[in-house]
């Protein structure tokens, strides 16, 4: 069995920074990541991007090259294409690579599995041709693919970033349908104080909006009552702005309502969580060194609360430094400077959280809307089960199979919590979340059987 001082799960900004920091202090580090190359979703495909693609994706994307190089040069053992499918509180980690599972033992674990897009249950969202805005961006980053029929629907900075990148690529989207209530932009002025120190983010935001406007992309503001129509695939997206009805023809609809922590590993580890009204999701409880309620188990980056790539890297450094300090390899100094930079970088969050709070219509979908895509359970089914006495997500599994399909609740988890909390009239913390159990993703029985009696070491290529 492979033994390391630190195992890092995820090779995005936070994971790479944690690994680099721990290596600086001489720790042995193993980094496990599901993607074939480092960078996470934010810098996905960056090592393969040519000059043209870097130009399209912009400076914040290109900045990832330096981070990836520092990580490659750090001397951390890096396992790409690898799934950590079980982690126990003692630091034993089962990792599947190329259909074979091996075990590693780590003195400490930094989980840096980042964010996922907030699920957006809307009428018709299961039709082929509907995807997320993040998906559109990934297609551009990894394959240079774009669809000029795309209609981007929802709320959040990623809509404007992806749209401006598509414009730069010469394939402007057909339209942007923003579900931000018009009054929110005025209300955001209340957070003007948070603009001090965050003006860089705000000016970037305006620049992206201007880029999209200049490309002639129609922008529908204050949209609501979004419906996606089609039989075997998307044909139209319909919505309202004020009293006006709109219906756009398209074969490609991209949805977005912000991002939330990917909860799977922290839930697997039974880390304590608390509901965040500001981010409208559960967050794992962490101390100032990113350590969770499970000793020697750290969570850095968007997985601990949404802060973006720069904040994620700073949190990764703090976690890496703390692991080194606990191992007696670093002194307790050095946090102050990183913490100050983190505070500055997070100054824009209250503004973004207010402005881009998710639409009521995805938090409380109409009865007929599918919420659990895998098992095709509707919001009405869930409300009915709650009225019969189902108190939380885990009981809904028995009632409805909700959350029991291939994605194991990754998509329906948060919407189910919202519907149950509203139905019971209780706080989200009282509703709780799906119990997450290993394996985190499906494995063949043959792989598990072969892992049981195999003493072969898990090693980086």
């Amino acid at each position: 069995m492979r033994r390391v001082d630190l195992a890092v799960i995820g090779a995005g900004p936070a994971g790479m920074a944690a690994a680099v920091e721990a290596r600086t202090h001489g720790l042995s580090v193993l980094v496990v990541d599901e993607q074939p190359t480092p960078g996470g979703q934010i810098w996905r495909g960056i090592e393969a991007a040519n000059a043209a693609r870097l130009q399209v994706l912009g400076d914040d994307y290109a900045a990832g090259l330096a981070a990836v190089r520092a990580f490659r040069d750090s001397g951390a053992d890096y396992l790409p294409g690898a799934l950590a499918w079980q982690i126990d509180p003692e630091g034993l980690i089962d990792v599947s690579v190329g259909g074979r599972s091996r075990r590693a033992a780590a003195g400490a674990v930094v989980v840096a599995t980042g964010a996922v897009e907030r699920p957006t249950p809307l009428p018709g969202w299961t039709l082929p041709g509907v995807m997320t805005v993040g998906a559109l961006q990934i297609l551009l980053k990894t394959s240079g693919l774009a669809d000029d029929e795309a209609v981007l629907v929802g709320s959040g900075p990623l809509i404007w970033l992806a749209a401006s990148q598509l414009c730069e690529a010469g394939r402007p989207p057909r339209a942007i349908v923003e579900t931000v209530p018009c009054g929110r932009y005025l209300g955001a002025a209340r957070h003007a104080s948070s603009l001090f120190g965050a003006s860089d983010y705000v000016s970037k935001g305006f620049k992206m909006m201007r880029r999209v406007r200049a490309a002639g992309v129609p922008v529908y503001r204050g949209a609501s009552d979004v419906r996606i129509e089609g039989r075997e695939r998307v044909s139209h997206v319909a919505f309202r702005t004020g009293r006006r009805e709109h219906r756009l023809e398209t074969a490609c609809v991209a949805l977005h309502q912000g991002v939330v922590p990917n909860p799977q590993v922290a839930r697997l580890m039974r880390c304590a969580h608390e509901w965040s009204p500001a981010q409208r999701c559960f967050l794992p409880r962490r101390d100032r060194f990113m350590e969770t309620s499970v000793p020697n188990f750290f969570l850095a980056g968007d997985g601990g609360g949404i802060g973006g790539a720069k904040a994620a890297a700073l949190e990764g450094r703090i976690a890496g430094l703390r692991v080194a300090e606990k191992a007696g390899r670093a002194t307790g100094s050095g946090y102050g400077e990183i913490e100050r930079a983190l505070k500055r970088d997070l100054a824009v969050r209250p503004l973004l959280e207010h402005l881009y709070a998710p639409s009521p219509e995805i938090l409380q979908p109409a009865d007929a809307t599918v919420v659990c895509r895998c098992e095709e359970v509707t919001a009405g089914d869930i409300r009915h089960a709650v009225s019969l006495g189902a108190p939380g997500p885990n009981q809904l599994k028995s009632f409805l199979r909700c959350g029991m399909g291939p994605c194991q609740g990754r998509v329906c988890g948060l919407p189910v919590v919202e519907i149950v909390a509203a139905g019971r009239g209780v706080a989200h913390d009282a509703v709780g979340y799906y119990g997450i159990r290993p394996p985190l993703k499906p494995l063949t029985l043959g792989e598990i059987a072969a892992a049981a009696d195999d003493g072969e070491e898990l090693a980086a290529e």
Partner: protein, 98 residues
């Protein structure tokens, strides 16, 4: 229609989707290559038989499940295309084979 916006860096690879040869770019995931080929749907659901296509492209939603080289339930967005790969749609529920 999804179309390429740049010349890319890698070469071409060929794989089979439902028995027909499809050209992809080196580095494409199976899901990206299928979209680039003009397909939007890769399977029908076990519950109702409704058509589904790739949705999140980052391994979260499990909507892009396909059979790859005889192994069912693979996430097409997480597998990079390899020369000669045999990719099949998944229609409805899997059948258990003894």
């Amino acid at each position: 229609m999804f179309e390429r916006t740049d010349a890319g860096a890698g070469g071409q690879v060929g794989f089979f989707f439902e028995g027909s040869r499809v050209e992809a770019r080196a580095g494409d995931t199976v899901a990206a290559a299928i979209l680039a080929h003009g397909e939007r749907s890769v399977r029908t659901t076990p519950a109702s038989g409704a058509p589904r296509g790739p949705f999140c492209f980052m391994g979260t939603c499990f909507e892009c499940l396909v059979e790859i080289d005889g192994v069912p339930n693979r996430q097409a967005c997480m597998v990079v295309v390899a020369e000669g790969m045999d990719v099949r749609r998944q229609e409805g529920a899997r059948e258990a084979t003894p």
